[in-house]
């Protein structure tokens, strides 16, 4: 709210609600942070890191879908680009510290994001989704054929290496707190972006693009910037994931992955900050639980069914529905 002119009662009420929302969010965030800090004492750290990587991926994706209204169906391309670049660097240049590998991987995904954005931004709505999907498929084919990716086998045995040259990441706990730091950095960045005047313009574009144009905003510039940020963060998630699991594979580049991140975001709640995190936690957990039981082969149909259910029955997602409930009952 940069220009609080003509504040009607409704706006005042909205402000009040925002304030009470924010207070609740602060408390919630602190509790969650505390839980994340002590979690590895209870839960296997590698599993937690998997959740955090996908949560970061989904948070990055949500910057586009939730806050700009752009549905990218090609985010796997950025995850995979970060993943392969970091994997290649850390495997082939042993002198490189881990964070350098991650930074370059993120940069590569960001550059790819610029290329995608410049092409895809030319169409809107479902065309945008189809174009990003097609571009990601192009990237997928490139990774299949490129000599350095290991083709169908993928890249194995990527060394975790030393963070800043002296923290041994082979230690799962050290690795965990590093991943947690990266995740929090990404999350806070998105939170900051969304709350900034820039973020307000993104929301305006989401709600009514022609209006934003008529107000004089260069809508395409904003969209490209949001897209590139989202791509970069998705690449960061991929880079870190490669370091954690010490492998990069074609799975990361497949359209299936693009679909999965959409599901995580949608299920958790688009347009909420915490939604994608909740969605990613849910989906990663579900996949793990299913793979342990007799339903291991039924992951895809079940994910499909959840997709259908979410779209039909609760489009606001888990966090969105909870927010609605809280607002209704707790003022």
């Amino acid at each position: 709210m940069d220009h609080p002119v003509n504040q009607t009662d409704i706006q005042q009420a909205m402000l009040d609600q925002q304030k009470s929302d924010q207070r609740r969010k602060h408390i919630l965030n602190l509790v969650l942070l505390a839980l994340l800090l002590i979690a590895p004492a209870v839960i296997y750290p590698v599993f937690l890191m998997k959740i955090l990587c996908f949560a970061l991926f989904a948070v990055a994706f949500n910057l586009l879908l939730g806050f700009t209204g752009l549905l990218s169906f090609g985010h796997a391309a950025f995850l995979a680009t970060g993943s392969y670049t970091t994997g290649y660097l850390l495997s082939n240049y042993s002198g490189l510290t881990t964070e350098m590998g991650i930074i370059v991987g993120t940069a590569a995904a960001t550059v790819l994001g610029v290329l995608f954005a410049l092409v895809a931004i030319r169409r809107q709505g479902i065309y945008f989704a189809m174009i990003t999907l097609a571009l990601a498929q192009l990237v997928y084919f490139m990774f299949v054929q490129a000599p350095f990716t290991g083709g169908e086998d993928g890249m194995h045995g990527v060394p975790r290496g030393h963070l800043f040259g002296f923290i041994d990441l082979e230690n799962n706990l050290a690795m965990y707190y590093f991943v947690l730091a990266v995740f929090l950095g990404g999350y806070l960045l998105v939170q900051r972006v969304v709350g900034s005047p820039f973020g307000q313009v993104l929301k305006a574009i989401k709600q009514n693009e022609p209006r934003a144009v008529s107000l004089g905003y260069n809508v395409n510039q904003y969209k490209v910037l949001a897209f590139v940020m989202s791509a970069g963060l998705a690449g960061l998630a991929g880079s870190v994931k490669t370091v954690v699991f010490q492998l990069a594979s074609l799975n990361d580049a497949h359209w299936h992955m693009s679909g999965e991140v959409i599901l995580m975001t949608l299920l958790g709640g688009t347009g909420t900050l915490l939604g994608p995190v909740v969605g990613a936690t849910f989906v990663v957990n579900l996949e793990y639980q299913l793979s342990q039981g007799p339903l291991g082969d039924w992951v895809d149909p079940i994910l499909g069914a959840i997709f259908v259910l979410t779209v039909i029955a609760f489009r606001s997602g888990i966090v969105g529905e909870i927010q609605k409930f809280v607002r209704k009952n707790m003022g």
Partner: protein, 295 residues
């Protein structure tokens, strides 16, 4: 043997033929997508799954009940079409009026379900389906060998494409459809049952996909995942052509098949990517697509 650009003529024409066949499938699928998009304004992400269902149903009907190819050519699209109508009635209808992104996601979920369930039942290795006796052999032309079945696929695809174009542009039912595309609410006001028309349109679009699936059953390997990768290419084709016109969808489909075929001759590693690159170029030069009306 004569050569063109250092490539034997027979090879060149052989790839051209394969390109036209692939193009025929692109045309059929993008045609169905365009028909559905016209009235429902949604992108049917389950289109690849419907194509796959057409092929699977053909094989299953043959294995289980001995139903032959000719009957399947009619029956399989009808079965899948009915499934499509049910899908529209029970699921898509519930989110009509919402952002179109949701219908895309809904159909994506449906595609995941269908594909996943069939993968569990039949596995990902291809099912065998042999073509009818009558298609054994082919025409011996001067410059190439044209198998009967390939000729049949091209003929049928063109027939369906033309038939659909004729139905939409020249018949009364087609005029309803075009009117509904312009303004569904007004047409409802004229006493036309628009919800029914929407169901039937979705069913019809899906039928074309299933029909393409039946045509594909004897020549491509029939697997639960046969539709998903094809659909992404078809999306690129749709973006290239724009969804403005039925004829545009058909022409673009065939054209892209041929371009892909020629790429296979001259630079095979590149052939799976070429359509996507054409898409990028078209978007940079003419964002609304070759036949698209507006941005």
């Amino acid at each position: 043997m004569s050569m063109i650009l250092g490539v034997p003529v027979a090879v060149l024409f052989g790839q051209l033929l394969l390109g036209i066949i692939n193009g025929a499938f692109y045309a059929l699928l993008s045609l169905g997508l365009a028909v559905i998009f016209g009235l429902l304004k949604i992108i049917n992400f389950a289109h690849g799954a419907m194509y796959m269902l057409g092929a699977m149903v053909t094989v299953i009907m043959f294995d289980a009940m001995g139903i032959n190819y000719w009957v399947a050519l009619v029956l399989a699209p009808l079965v899948v079409g009915c499934f499509g109508v049910l899908l529209e009635y029970f699921l898509l209808r519930r989110i009509a009026g919402q952002d179109h992104i949701y219908s895309l996601l809904l159909t994506f979920g449906v595609a995941l379900m269908i594909q996943g369930i069939l993968t569990n039942i039949f596995g990902v290795s291809g099912l065998r389906y042999s073509m009818p006796e009558i298609f054994q052999g082919g025409f011996k032309l001067d410059f190439m060998f044209l198998p009967y079945y390939r000729a049949w696929v091209i003929f049928m695809a063109l027939l369906v494409c033309f038939g659909t174009w004729f139905m939409i542009e020249k018949t009364k039912l087609g005029s309803y459809l075009r009117a509904g595309t312009e303004d569904a609410q007004l047409m409802q006001g004229f006493g036309i049952n628009v919800p029914l028309l929407i169901s039937l349109t979705y069913g019809f679009g899906v039928m074309i996909a299933a029909f393409a699936g039946v045509l594909a059953a004897p020549i491509y390997s029939v697997t639960p995942v046969m539709g998903s990768n094809l659909l992404i290419v078809v999306f690129a084709v749709v973006v290239i052509g724009g969804m403005g016109s039925i004829a545009g969808a058909i022409i673009t489909g065939l054209l892209m098949g041929v371009i892909e075929g020629f790429t296979k001759v001259f630079y095979p590693e590149f052939s799976s990517a070429v359509i996507f690159l054409v898409m990028v170029v078209v978007l940079l030069i003419r964002p609304s697509g070759l036949f698209g009306k507006e941005a």
